[in-house]
């Protein structure tokens, strides 16, 4: 009887411990995800000079060459480019504007990222 009670306590302890550990890991994962989103900084620029979809790909190609940029999405209709930086990347704004100029376009104002980009 004493032995069975001991087994029950141990099983209960392990179950609670495991459940807590799993829940904790999940929480930690969520925390990492949030950190990662925060680190993936998004910058949005107004760009003048694009007049067709072909211009978009020319600009994206230039901006993606910057060390620390993970993604660049340009829109000739919206006249802007959205630049996503890698976690912990330090990219000077001058580097981005220089690349926009190398694509033969003119950088305009730096815009606020849209809500779903933050």
């Amino acid at each position: 009887m004493k032995h069975k009670a001991f087994q029950f306590v141990i099983t209960l302890f392990l179950t609670v411990f495991s459940a807590t550990a799993i829940a904790g890991t999940g929480y930690e994962n969520d925390q990492n995800k949030n950190d990662s989103i925060q680190q993936n900084k998004v910058i949005r620029y107004e760009v003048f000079g694009m007049d067709c979809p072909g211009c978009q790909s020319a600009l994206e190609k230039q901006v993606k060459k910057i060390d620390g940029v993970s993604e660049a999405k340009a829109s000739w209709q919206k006249k802007q480019v959205v630049v996503t930086l890698k976690p912990d990347a330090k990219v000077k704004e001058e580097e981005i504007t220089a690349r926009i100029k190398k694509a033969n376009f003119t950088p305009g104002e730096k815009l606020k990222p849209e809500e779903d980009e933050e």
Binding site: F48, D51, A58, L59, Q62, K102, N104, G108
Partner: protein, 268 residues
């Protein structure tokens, strides 16, 4: 970057290598401003050209290939070559299937103003065809100088190309067989395709004017009115044009007929 330059040079060398059997052939100059740095554009075309001499017809199929590279935002290098196949030839003129002489061109940005409402720019260009080794029939150069002007307000595009060409210039005689002034105006408007974010359909209307001054013969002018279209995506462009001749009777008795141009452009 280094690999891309090497790749471009290799492709360039390949085109030069395949050019030994060329004859002199007029090659029109591309309109437009200088593209982005490191931009590689490959354009392949099929041209169906019909000329007439009296009731006799001559049909040719030309397949020019253009490779352009943005050396910097201000300088573009361009090379063309192609193959000409003679379909029907009911005229007395002798015409053979052949490679065209390779054509090299450099384009320089002179001015470009990008605004929220429009883009306006000017680019100058200079180029020439080269007689390729011993197989070139004409053994001549055809140097060309010109200016491209581009005005693009919102979804509209107005591209004016003006060029002056010394056709078949003999270096020994220091004279060309004909001098030509070429003007080309292309007007187009981008139309958005519903449901296709990155795809544009653009009807195009081109007007071409050529004033030719042959060394032996009278100066004459002719032109084309050319409706067409373009479908543009970020890395691909498909274009079609039909050139309708205007005042096509030249001094040689050969008249220009209609010309169909179909092309595809890849942009890397």
């Amino acid at each position: 970057m280094k690999n891309k330059i090497q790749g471009f040079l290799l492709f360039f060398a390949l085109l030069i290598f395949i050019a030994p059997k060329t004859h002199a052939e007029g090659i029109s100059v591309d309109a437009g401003l200088t593209p982005a740095q490191d931009r590689i554009i490959v354009r392949m075309q099929y041209r169906n050209i019909i000329n007439k001499m009296g009731d006799n017809k001559m049909a040719m199929h030309m397949m020019p290939v253009v490779v352009a590279y943005g050396l910097s935002p201000d300088i573009t290098l361009m090379m063309r070559n192609g193959y000409r196949a003679v379909g029907t030839n009911e005229t007395m003129m002798e015409m053979q299937n052949s490679w065209m002489d390779p054509f090299f061109m450099g384009k320089v940005k002179l001015f470009r103003h990008n605004t929220r409402k429009y883009v306006f720019g000017l680019a100058g260009f200079a180029g020439t065809s080269f007689p390729a080794w011993n197989s070139s029939a004409a053994k001549t150069y055809s140097p060309v100088l010109g200016v491209n002007a581009s005005f693009r307000p919102n979804y509209w595009a107005f591209d004016l190309n003006s060029a002056y060409e010394w056709g078949n210039y003999h270096t020994a005689e220091k004279s060309s067989e004909a001098r030509e002034l070429q003007l080309n105006l292309a007007i187009s408007r981008n139309l958005l395709i519903p449901g296709a974010n990155n795809l544009v359909f653009a009807p195009v209307q081109e007007f071409s004017f050529v004033r030719s001054r042959p060394q032996n013969g009278e100066t004459h002018s002719f032109g084309f009115v050319s409706p067409g279209f373009q479908v543009v995506s970020p890395h691909f462009k498909f274009e079609g044009l039909y050139q309708i001749p205007v005042n096509s009777a030249g001094t040689t008795g050969m008249k220009n007929g209609g010309r169909l141009i179909l092309g595809v452009r890849f942009m890397f």
